[in-house]
Symmetry: D3
């Protein structure tokens, strides 16, 4: 039983990045937590809707309401609050005792995602595993670590669809893209469907 | 009107790597040539079949028989003949006056492909464009240059299927993988379907 | 006919980075726009002079006054306003319908240039071409894409010289450096004079 | 229960690279195999001694005689036989049904080690995990994956010492270096002693 | 006789990164200066203690009180003041006439260290040597330049121990880690003990 | 007084890569040796002419006949003899007691140069300094170490011109290219003219 923390800048980032992986951790008996840094208030929807959507999405992945944390940093301006961001993530790690941390990578064209990626590295400096997930806005993303999500890719799509104010408004948040990417990462991992990660630090059990 | 040369280690490598792109060069009026370094004699088929398949595949892409060149290097052992390989490619470039060259990249887990990639760089040292294509055996492939193949991806699949001794014998040469990859590269390029390239040297017309 | 947008942190950055390339786009019938993020008020000159110089330089390259946009971010402190920067660039892209975007690269020792580079990637996430140009303050700059500026390098120098408050005050903004660099990039591109680019994303016409 | 294959160019390479990790696989119930590509006949000792030493070292790590395979490639000239090398490794993988493969990395100043690294990538193209280990002759080695060897570092040293014809003849094969490196990798992994790996492909169980 | 400036975000960073190297510059007759950007007020100690410790540590390395400069940027929030940081470093370089500059690298999981690294590159744009040192929080640190500190590693430990409010409170600031790292870098440099650097720009005397 | 060894695949490679640097070592009292791996017999000239030219070029740089060594590997096919190449370089290092070694880099489009680069790393595994020089056929060359050759760039050109069978037959071996490159590297190094190097391992005197 391991404590797992997934971190995302905005509602739906975690689902896109590692939703299938989280849905595999849950039945393994791991304690899965999610930390969403902003409420996504700069996007095309009202905050209360996004909060509701995020709760529903987490529930689909098997993460109950009490394990979903929300940061209070301003959408789009996270990089102006680097220290607060580190502290927000540190608090979540302390509270959850997370040993496994999933977060953005820093090669990302969205400024919030870059800031969250780099803050995670500082905040999670003692975690046993820090893995960077792919995102529709990442670039030069070269995964070498993969998780087989053949059994959970449907759940991943379902969770993404719970963000109904986003899906349909963006070519970047679509189940069709999710399926294409899962297939491509699956090919790289020699399985049917996968999520890919770049390891920041990965202590491997043998 | 430009002379274009595509180079591959084995029959079907060019189709997988840049078949959709070649199928776009042809109707643009470019002179498209293909150079296949080995006859793929180490694979699961007899040589005469592979030669026939390669001719058919080229024809589907719009490359007539007279523009398909075959090297005579031994399948699997190309790297033992590095200088001959450079000369083989140099001769094809001289003969075709190719200004645009497509070839393997060197981050590839197949020894022949690595050798062909690096020999291309030497042989094509005066070419205006040298672009490395993706391959099922490449790794750490990070394309930044893309060609929209929405209109030719079907032809790419058809050409691949002409290699009937290979398709079905390998998970790596399948139209299903081609479609997944075209979709994923398309997403990266912001079009429906694409092929991705890493530029070795690209003189851009503006 | 394509809409082209060149972005620079300070007056003279665009000229140094891609002045020769812009001067080739103009006679091709492309609509060329320039966006200068700051007025360069921290440099050794008064703002009104720099504005005048920038207008003159743009005109030399063939960019009329109405196509030169100015951002209002503070010179030297651009990175404190990352979201505003993204919005400034997004507005220019929307207004110009730019499909081709030239901007700084992020491996640059000037903080403004790094910020502009990374903001461009976010703001231009749908553009067909995003190319990073070289700068006297860039480091680890490894171009793989080149534009032949043999016919426009003189115009590039002339445009740079229009920034008369800068040229002569810095070893970094000199026509002698421009000529040396054009020659060196030209050698890499196998032409007489060139500008070099690192492609962030380049959809290639074939 | 997993089949694990460790590959090294010369006797003692595996021990130096991943001896501590193998010693942890054994008590976990995994089937651990070793493949040594050459007999190290170019080094300062007779072949029969090196074979004896290798058997003893393997035994210390818990790998019985029947699970130690020897290739027959010539020490120092492995790169001249790239295809044979791929076949040698493929045969070992087929025979052992290995899903986890440890091998050299390709950033290594010894020509045999580079060749073994790259051949492994081809031969193990279907393996679930391919991890590159560090070596005294590797350079630019940047591990992101670690195995805690606190409990087995002594066994690693003991196994290395079994290569008595080498230890003492080279500053590169010494238990003192092993301990220093284990401590440094341990620091990076946040444990007392570790071995570091660069993942070529790692399918992670969650 | 050369002017040397070492820059660190917090008290003890310089000692950890290049303390042994500075202790070699001093007896060579070089003028060695230290610039500490923050007072480390966010750490587990009061500021006056840290100032005292820093003075003592500098003295141990041979840097007298008058050559120790302190910036006034807020610990943990340095990246919010990027321009001020550049100016702080520029002033120190002007005042000391430093030709050799040691500073953080930018691949560091602490936000202050990243900011100091990148600001150094801008501020030291005319310095003959700019070398990035390793830090306990750096990642992907791959040194290619080394300084032999066999004769000064004890002094480095002594200087580190002068930061008595830190040593013992962190596994990252310990003489045991210093000794392990010195041994590992020493192995890489083929000497007994070394400090490793990644060169930003290094004009070499021959 | 230091022993310095420069290694090149073909006559004129050393002059192009580090001729200006060698010409500075000589008056410093260092013992400078050159090792040319092939006689360049594949190029456009007879061997005896190339040998004569090489002797003349070395003499211009200040390297007397007795310090110029010639390997006997076949031009264009060096990579087929990797072990012999390592031994050739090892013998030269042993004989000269070289502590400083200049050689090709491995990112080079000529197969001989790649092989020489990588063999140098193995053969010079105990040397204090191993620096990779730039070459007209190198690619992705990103120097961080520089030597000021303002005072010797003329001698470099003169030495290159001694290879009269080559100069004039290739755009790659011309004094005009040498001057352009020296100016560009000089700009990067903040001096008038420079040669650039990528350090493989550099133990720095302080």
């Amino acid at each position: 039983m391991t404590a797992v923390l997934a971190i995302g800048s905005h509602p739906d980032d975690i689902e896109l990045g590692c939703g299938g992986t989280l849905a595999r951790h849950v039945p393994s008996g791991d304690d899965v937590y999610m930390l969403v840094i902003t409420t996504g208030e700069a996007g095309p929807s009202i905050v209360s809707a996004r909060v509701r959507e995020q709760l529903a999405a987490a529930e689909i992945l098997g993460v109950p309401r009490g394990r979903l944390f929300r940061g209070e940093l301003p959408d789009g301006r996270v990089s102006n609050y680097e220290l607060d961001l580190v502290h927000t993530i540190e608090r979540a790690i302390t509270q959850t005792q997370a040993e496994v941390v999933y977060s953005h990578g820093n090669l990302d064209s969205h400024q919030d995602n870059r800031a969250v990626a780099e803050a995670t590295w500082g905040a999670a400096r003692q975690a046993r595993r820090v893995l960077c997930y792919d995102s529709p806005s990442s670039h030069s993303f070269n995964p070498s670590v993969f998780v087989d999500i053949t059994s959970t890719v449907d759940k991943k799509c379902e969770a993404l669809n719970a963000h109904s104010s986003q899906v349909g408004n963006s070519t970047m948040a679509s189940t069709s893209l999710v399926m294409t990417q899962a297939g491509y990462r699956g090919f790289q991992a020699r399985v049917e469907a996968a999520e890919g990660f770049m390891p920041h630090r990965l202590l491997l059990d043998v």
